[in-house]
């Protein structure tokens, strides 16, 4: 995606060593190995969900690697008058820091941002993945979920990293609990006041009313909502297991490899981005596919690549899922225990 400058000789050298038996990579990894992935959730206190992700940070110097910051923020939208959609909507945006792409001009940076935004938006905001709990009041109010991804540093494989960070931020998102509120016009007040003169009696008793516990009819007529005071920040997004993951296959026939560094990316002609969603166990769905770079592929080859990609994505999914549950435990159970021990 980015064109780091690699000389012809360097490109040939990298290609030859990748195609050698056994294949060799600059950092000693196998073809299907990822660099170390660091992930932390809950990094932005003002966001509804957030995550910071780093792929390939150097262990000792503490620098390098692809660094992504993703955060979600919820906004209330009016369906009738505003531009809200019944059931809520999701808007994604990717912004690239100029320090990640210091060789690009600001126009080129905008184009890159736009490209990545389109990839993310088309995949994440697809109706098949839409969470059910973004409605506040049906046909009146709904949540707008803004997903902002910030690329702070790029050292290769940025699309996979963006998807992983986005998935972690969405996983972490908490939707505030709401309670519908209905307004009753106090009809009898006027007549009562006339007869009672200036006397002010609490009129509410006089209005025949349904039980306050009966909220079945309320939703239909509700006009507004309120936020009940509750101990937690809200409930998680419905179907958060479904959020997709992307694996990028860097194609260098006859082989392919994962998690390319910048120089490897620059020396491989084409790559294939495959986004998979694993809603139910052992049932994966291909959510999007994109082939970038020149050249052509046989249909049978594409089938083989998709099958391979699914396998890699499944491994990645399991690892990420374990990490996310671990993070949840770290921030809730362990933090609570630590606090109790103080």
């Amino acid at each position: 995606m980015t064109s780091a400058l690699v000389s012809k000789a360097e490109r040939a050298y990298i290609q030859a060593s990748l195609q050698a038996t056994p294949p060799l990579r600059g950092d000693g990894r196998g073809l299907l190995d990822f660099r170390t992935v660091f992930l932390e959730t809950g990094v932005a206190p003002l966001a509804n969900g957030s995550a910071r992700l780093n792929i390939g940070k150097m262990a000792h110097e503490g620098g390098g690697g692809t660094e992504i910051l993703a955060a979600t923020k919820l906004e209330v939208e009016d369906v009738e008058t505003g531009d809200g959609v019944d059931g809520g909507r999701i808007v994604c945006s990717v912004s690239c820091s100029p320090s990640a792409y210091s060789h690009l001009s600001s126009n080129a940076l905008d184009e890159l941002q736009y490209d990545l935004t389109v990839i993310l938006q088309q995949t994440i905001a697809h109706p098949s993945l839409h969470p059910q709990n973004l409605t506040i009041i049906p046909r009146k109010k709904s949540w707008l979920l803004n997903l902002d991804v910030l690329i702070l540093a790029d050292s290769g494989n940025v699309v996979d990293a963006v998807f992983m960070a986005a998935r972690a931020a969405l996983w972490d998102t908490k939707v505030p609990r709401t309670r519908a509120v209905e307004y009753h016009a106090p009809e009898e007040i006027q007549t009562m006041r006339d007869s009672a003169g200036a006397m002010d009696i609490d009129q509410r008793e006089a209005i025949p009313q349904a039980s306050g516990f009966d909220t079945r009819e309320m939703v239909r007529t509700a006009a507004d909502f309120e936020l009940p005071d509750y101990w937690d920040e809200g409930e998680v997004l419905n179907g958060r297991e479904r959020w997709p993951l992307c694996v990028t296959l860097n194609l260098l026939p006859p082989t392919h490899f994962l998690d390319a560094t910048l120089s490897e990316e620059a020396s491989v002609p084409s790559r294939m981005h495959l986004a998979f969603s694993f809603g139910k166990p052992n049932a994966s769905k291909l959510q999007s596919m994109r082939l970038s770079g020149p050249g052509e592929l046989d249909l049978s080859q594409i089938k083989a690549y998709i099958a391979d990609g699914e396998k890699y994505a499944c491994d990645l999914f399991n690892a990420l899922e374990a990490k996310l549950r671990d993070e949840d435990a770290r921030r809730n159970v362990k933090a609570r225990n630590k606090f109790a021990l103080r």
Partner: protein, 262 residues
């Protein structure tokens, strides 16, 4: 005051439990970020800013270079999720241009640009979280990033914000206080005791200005101590790593000597 929150209560405490002249927690992280030559992440309470510095290097556009000194190029980006209400600011947003112009003019007299003619120093500022004192955090982080990049400076630049509540001066304001009080940001060079920036967007009575200005200059010295300690710690760690690297080769005579001594 019209605010529902008491800015300064009878006990002399502010809304976040600080005393009048108390500064917020400062944390400084000088570890390397990506491929930048120098970088720093500073947090003042809940305000967090990351600055990366590239250069001095050849400018992308030749026409922008000056023949006798380096050009400082400040670019700022504010994360959309950094504030309470989400707002995406473009690069050409007026507020951002204003802030980056203020930072550029603050550092112009401090960086020894004449040492690097026909080159450019890029300063990229990322605002990750905002809770008041944005300009102060940007300036402090830029100083630290320039230092870690090894760009020669005449002195540190330490900035702090201050405000006045009726007649009482306060230091290091949060968003809540910034919205309600007349406030100013002062950047000082602690060794020479020169001031490189005083900026104010609200109105302040001229009799109150002297108090808060002197107080802010003094607070700059305190921030300087923190920044100096962070820089020193990092340098000590680097020198330690260099020594360890130098002693590592097996043919080193010093190492043999110590082995025999044992």
């Amino acid at each position: 005051m019209s605010s529902r929150v008491e800015i300064l209560n009878d006990g002399g405490f502010r809304s976040d439990g600080r005393k009048q002249y108390e500064l917020r927690d400062i944390t400084i992280d000088l570890s390397q970020q990506g491929t930048a030559d120098g970088s720093a992440i500073i947090t003042h309470g809940l305000t967090q800013v990351m600055v990366t510095v590239f250069g001095p290097r050849e400018a992308k556009m030749r026409s922008q270079t000056l023949h006798d000194r380096a050009v400082l190029n400040v670019e700022m980006s504010v994360a959309p999720f950094s504030t309470g209400e989400r707002r995406k600011r473009s690069r050409a947003d007026r507020r951002i241009l204003e802030l980056s112009a203020a930072i550029e003019s603050t550092f112009e007299p401090v960086v020894q640009t004449s040492l690097y003619p026909r080159s450019q120093i890029d300063i990229y500022i990322h605002v990750l979280q905002q809770d008041g004192g944005l300009l102060q955090a940007c300036i402090n982080a830029t100083t630290l990033a320039l230092i870690t990049a090894g760009v020669p400076l005449l002195d540190f630049v330490c900035a702090v914000s201050g405000g006045v509540h009726s007649t009482e001066p306060l230091l290091d304001l949060t968003t809540l206080e910034e919205n309600d009080l007349p406030n100013l940001t002062v950047a000082v060079m602690p060794r020479t005791r020169k001031v490189t920036l005083v900026t104010m967007e609200t109105r302040l009575h001229v009799e109150r200005f002297r108090d808060i200005f002197e107080l802010a200059c003094e607070a700059g010295q305190t921030i300087h101590k923190e920044m100096k300690r962070a820089v020193k710690d990092r340098t000590v760690a680097l020198v330690g790593a260099m020594d360890a690297g130098a002693k590592h080769p097996s043919g080193d005579p010093d190492r043999d000597l110590t082995m025999e001594d044992r």
